[in-house]
């Protein structure tokens, strides 16, 4: 029975948006809302299936009647030129097409309310992970108040299993303008607004990287304010957290190039905006760089993190991400090289 229902629903999806059954959509895109990997996203898909099938049924009925009427009552060449009978209305008919929609709407409303309550009004379990998300033009800051970890752009959370649920609660605010946190496979979006604290939760149920991006226009580089959520198995997550908690590497006596790079970094404006724990760099305007080299990407997921890109980035961020608020640092070739080496060692 259930599979017949699913078949019909998929068919509805097909016809509504051309070749798009939930399955192929998921295969095509790492950000499809129809391949949920967490509870909030999944209950949305279930609701969508109901809404889609109801609206689809309405579409087929009304469009069918319209097409029928247009074909059946078209003016024919044999027309006698008389006006057709004039009909001014009918109370019964009009009542019926008021009452039936009211019933349909009531059903949809109740179903919707159920999902709203099950997403927004559930108590937070004691086992929950807490992360503070701070939106910046055009990158993300993540702080783990329970753990003491501070990182940027790549959010690590533990996988949550039905047996031992460890949802992650995101407490969100913005340092500048409005942004919106959206990782479609995990949950719907939630706006990240200055002077306001919003909360949402996610519970990825398979390990993996989930992509998303800022969904509220926030200025020049809104397009490249990307999101990466790493769902790690509990042991991987523990290992990651342990590593992040270690003070960043500050002693480079065995690596003269990096040591020189460290000096260049500390003697430039870098430290006004960036922090590296254990050093004079305590800036908060840009991403924390303490464990920078443990991240896969640069500039909020816009570019792969490798020495070549890093060098280009520091030399002129705007050439890679026009509108980025990090200024070009105007270092000479030599300094650029050693700073790059230094940052690449900040595992």
């Amino acid at each position: 029975m259930k599979c017949i229902v699913n078949l019909v629903l998929n068919l509805a999806l097909w016809l509504t948006w051309g070749a798009l059954p939930a399955g192929t959509a998921a295969a095509q895109s790492p950000t499809s809302i129809f391949s949920p990997a967490g509870t909030p996203a999944r209950s949305t898909v279930q609701l969508s299936m109901l809404v889609l099938s109801v609206t689809f049924a309405i579409f087929v009925t009304v469009a069918g009647l319209l097409v029928y009427a247009l074909v059946r009552y078209r003016r024919r060449p044999t027309d006698d030129g008389h006006e057709p009978p004039q009909i001014y209305g009918s109370n019964q008919i009009e009542l019926s097409w008021t009452v039936i929609p009211v019933l349909i709407v009531t059903t949809l409303f109740l179903a919707t309310t159920r999902v709203i309550l099950s997403t927004e009004a559930v108590p937070k379990p004691a086992s929950a992970m807490n992360v503070t998300v701070i939106g910046h033009q055009f990158w993300w800051e993540y702080r783990y108040p329970g753990l003491g970890v501070v990182t940027a752009n790549e959010l690590h959370v533990p996988v949550s299993s039905p047996k031992t649920p460890t949802p992650t609660y995101l407490t969100m605010s913005s340092a500048d303008v409005a942004h919106s946190f959206w990782v479609p496979r995990l949950a719907g979006k939630m706006d990240v607004i200055p002077n306001r604290v919003n909360v949402m939760w996610i519970d990825p149920q398979q390990a993996g990287i989930y992509l998303g991006q800022c969904a509220q226009y926030c200025g020049t580089q809104h397009a490249k304010m990307l999101l990466r959520v790493y769902a790690d198995s509990p042991s991987d997550f523990a290992a990651w957290a342990k590593h992040q908690l270690e003070p960043g590497r500050t002693d480079f006596s065995d690596d003269p190039v990096a040591a020189e790079g460290q000096k260049v970094f500390m003697h430039n404006a870098c430290i006004n905006c960036h922090a590296v724990t254990g050093t004079p760099a305590t800036g908060r305007y840009g991403p924390d760089l303490t464990h920078f080299a443990s991240r896969d990407t640069l500039a909020s997921g816009a570019i792969e993190n490798n020495p070549e890109n890093l060098r280009k980035w520091i030399n002129d961020p705007n050439s890679m991400k026009p509108g980025s608020l990090m200024p070009a640092m105007h270092l000479n070739d030599h300094d650029l090289g050693v700073v790059t080496t230094y940052l690449s060692r900040l595992k």
Binding site: W17, A25, Y73, R75, P101, A223
Partner: protein
């Protein structure tokens, strides 16, 4: 009659300067209506070019055709232009032209206010675009605004939007807002006070009824927007902190102000489109409108309910379950009166003798597309679905179904339908059919396929995207559809111009229609009716043509 024709003819022999002077100083509702329409068509083309540039940029991933700054200006200007300087004025233009004619009046209630409203709106449009020419620094002007047509705080505060581009945005819309309120006031007064003899409110044709509701909404909705714009300007120049979050202001307050205007605005635009369909569908089906009282009631209901749904644009703001549930309810409720309208149109067609002339073709397109728009609207009103789809391309697809699929299609229908009244010439049918079919194909390629990247996680207002997201194929189709629509609109513009010279003569009543505007000559003389008409039913010309079976017996 003879005498009138001579005066019209002799007018054309005057010097061009005096003709221009007359247009610039006119207070005739028909001339003002036409100026509104011309002004709006110009901006429709400008907004269209902007849209095309946006779509070309997004056809392929990682495109470098436009820079992010240019792209952000383009989508801001596109949205602002289309809503305020194409949509509203074109609908006011039709209202201005048609309302007095359809109620058998000689002019609007306040002809001078009418001219003032037009000119101040036009000035607003010019001011908005002057921001482009201003250039940085020159005339102390910024470049074009890039904060989005919704201009969310605090992106618009001095800190995040230095220079003057945001001031241009806010001042130009403030001015056009004054014009809109003036015109709304005029339309309401005209309909309430200037109906001809015998035209009770229950005999008022549906078009003026809908303009009445629309104008009511303009009153209630435009005020909050203007207020918010004044507050924004105070923030920017006098250190007020309404929306300046860096000093403790509220970003969410702006959203409420904006959407208290912004949601009714959608109905301000769509109700006149309903109005056109209400006039055209019966005439080309040869039937009286089915359920006139229900149509009126539904329109008034939509007007009222539309004022209580604004926060369905804010489901992702974190309103909490109570707020969300309320706005889900209000939004879903509005689909009931909307459904009534669709069913009544269907019933009007049912049992008729439908002729597929170009105005009717566009109304049929309107019916199907509005149906889909309504259904995706229901989907979006389910808040959890909305958490996924808000600010994604799905929403862009949904509201373009309303704005293009419903409003623009109904408007094209209106152009073909009333053109003969305005010019005395018919528009070319063959070109009209080309226009229609190209438009249908282009529209569906563009906007059907735009739902899909939304479902696949593509946010709106991004100037580029990664290649691995699975969005590019869809965006390519969308772009091609956009180009086809552009060709369709060129067909239309060409038709408008060439039919004026070469069109067939239309006579007073080419469609065998029933409302009063068809009782006077085409084009109507400056005083509209030589003798003020008297009516006894909703379809006065039906009564004249069918004395054996007049409508008045059934109403």
């Amino acid at each position: 009659m003879q005498a009138i024709d001579e005066t019209t003819a002799s007018q054309d022999r005057r010097a061009p300067v005096s003709i221009i002077y007359e247009w610039l100083t006119t207070v005739d509702h028909k001339k003002i209506g036409l100026m509104y329409i011309a002004f709006a068509l110009f901006f429709l083309l400008v907004g269209g070019v902007e849209a095309l540039l946006i779509r070309i940029q997004l056809m392929v991933p990682n495109n470098h055709f436009l820079s992010p700054q240019v792209f952000n200006r383009l989508f801001t200007m596109h949205g602002t232009t289309m809503v305020f300087f194409a949509g509203m004025p074109i609908l006011f233009g039709f209202g201005n032209y048609l309302v007095p004619l359809m109620i058998g009046a000689r002019d609007m209630a306040f002809p001078k206010l009418n001219a003032f409203s037009f000119w101040i709106s036009a000035f607003g449009g010019i001011l908005l675009y002057f921001s482009y020419f201003g250039g940085s620094g020159l005339y102390a002007a910024g470049t074009a605004p890039d904060v989005g047509w919704f201009a969310y705080a605090p992106l618009t505060s001095k800190v995040f939007s230095p220079g003057h581009s945001t001031d241009y945005w806010s001042l130009s819309l403030f001015l056009s807002g004054i014009g809109s309120i003036g015109t709304a006031l005029n339309i309401v007064t005209t309909i309430l006070c200037m109906r001809c003899k015998g035209m009770t409110m229950t005999r008022l044709p549906l078009l003026p009824w809908l303009y009445l509701v629309t104008s009511g909404l303009v009153f209630v909705a435009v005020g909050p927007l203007s207020a918010a714009q004044i507050m924004l300007t105070l923030d920017r120049y006098l250190g007020a902190h309404f929306f300046d979050t860096q000093a403790g202001g509220s970003a969410v307050l702006w959203m409420h102000f904006f959407w208290i205007f912004g949601h009714p605005e959608v109905y301000i635009l769509v109700l006149p489109a309903f109005a056109f369909a209400n006039e055209i569908i019966p005439v080309f089906s040869r039937k009286a409108m089915f359920g006139y009282p229900a149509m009126v009631a539904a329109s008034v209901a939509i007007g009222f309910v539309s004022l209580s749904v604004w926060a369905h644009h804010m489901f992702t703001v974190g309103m909490g379950p109570a707020g969300n549930t309320f706005f889900v309810f209000a939004t879903m409720v509005i689909s009931v009166p909307t459904g009534i309208k669709i069913f009544n149109w269907l019933a009007t067609i049912w049992g008729g003798k439908i002729s597929f002339a170009v105005p009717m073709l566009f109304c049929i397109g309107f019916l199907f597309q509005f149906l889909v728009a309504g259904l995706t609207g229901i989907m979006l009103s389910a808040a959890p679905f909305n958490w996924q789809l808000n600010n994604s391309y799905f929403v862009v697809a949904h509201f373009h179904y309303v704005l293009v699929g419903a409003i623009l299609f109904a408007l094209f229908g209106a152009f073909y339908y009333w053109y003969p009244k305005v010019t005395g010439k018919l528009m070319n049918e063959t070109l009209g059919k080309w226009h229609f079919w190209l438009m249908v194909v282009g529209f569906h390629l563009t906007f059907d396929f735009m739902h899909i990247p939304g479902i696949l996680g593509m946010p709106r207002r991004i100037y580029t995207y990664e290649a691995n997201r699975g969005w590019q194929g869809w965006n390519m189709i969308v772009g091609v559809g956009g180009v086809i629509q552009a060709v369709a609109i060129l067909c239309f513009v060409y038709n408008l111009i060439s039919s004026y010279r070469h069109g067939e003569d239309a006579g007073t009543d080419p469609w065998d229609a029933w409302t009063l505007e068809w009782a006077t000559q085409s084009p109507p003389p400056s005083y509209n009716f030589a003798i003020e008409p008297t009516v006894a039913s909703r379809r006065p010309l039906w009564d004249l043509k069918h004395p054996e079976d007049p409508d008045s017996d059934y109403e």
